[in-house]
């Protein structure tokens, strides 16, 4: 499928990213359950869910911001990024003291989801043909 607009790039990235992270959640959940029981399963699901949320927020902010004038675009993208980072720090700090979390399982599902989503981003952008001018 040839991608012709930036909107299509982000729609495709979000869809494929969600599919991949769902697969990582299932696989990670199975491994987590085998390694650490119920806590491992919960940690894998929370890790992949957080990764999906925080990875797709950037794509969504760029997609929404592209409809605004330039200052609005950077406002939405950078503001979204700031909120996301603060939100992630707070979430990590809260989860750190939670007793239903298995640390390594959570960490490795987050890392696998983030890196997998990055690979999908790169492949989709490389395969897309974005016209120089679009309105």
């Amino acid at each position: 499928m040839t991608i012709a607009t930036t909107g299509q790039v982000f729609t495709r990235v979000l869809k494929l990213g969600a599919l991949l992270i769902a697969a990582i959640a299932v696989l990670g959940g199975a491994i987590g359950y085998a390694v650490a029981g119920q806590n491992g399963l919960v940690s894998a699901l929370i890790g992949s869910g957080l990764a999906l949320l925080f990875v797709s927020m950037t794509a969504l902010s760029v997609q929404l911001g592209a409809k605004l004038p330039l200052a609005g675009f950077f406002g939405v993208v950078m503001g979204g990024w700031l909120l996301k980072l603060v939100g992630f720090i707070i979430t990590m700090a809260l989860l750190k003291s939670a007793d239903f979390i298995n640390g390594p399982v959570l960490f490795f599902t987050i890392v696998a989801s983030v890196l997998g989503a990055l690979a999908i981003d790169a492949v989709v952008v490389m395969r897309s043909r974005i016209p120089t001018y679009q309105k």
């Binding site: 930036t6 950037t58 760029v62 330039l70 675009f73 950077f74 959570l106 974005i130």
Partner: protein, 78 residues
């Protein structure tokens, strides 16, 4: 005042880790965005392409932040 203890660190070292995990990607994303603004100012007709390239740059840089901020789960506090 005890002179020997003036250099002692008090508090949670993990806070320094959180700070470092935010500073690096913050500088990286700042560079990506500033260069995109420069490029769009030079060639506004390329804005759509540059925005996608910028997003890819931000995605790679912020991966470092997300992984860095999750490290307390694998390196437990001493």
């Amino acid at each position: 005042m005890d002179v020997n203890n003036t250099a002692a660190l008090v508090g949670n070292l993990a806070v320094v880790g959180y700070g470092l995990a935010a500073v690096g990607p913050g500088i990286g994303v700042g560079l990506v965005v500033s260069k995109t603004i420069e490029s769009i100012a030079r060639q506004p007709e390329l804005a759509a392409r540059l925005q996608v390239t910028m997003w890819l740059g931000i995605a790679f840089t912020e991966a470092l932040a997300l992984i860095g901020l999750a490290t307390p789960f694998i390196f437990p506090a001493a």
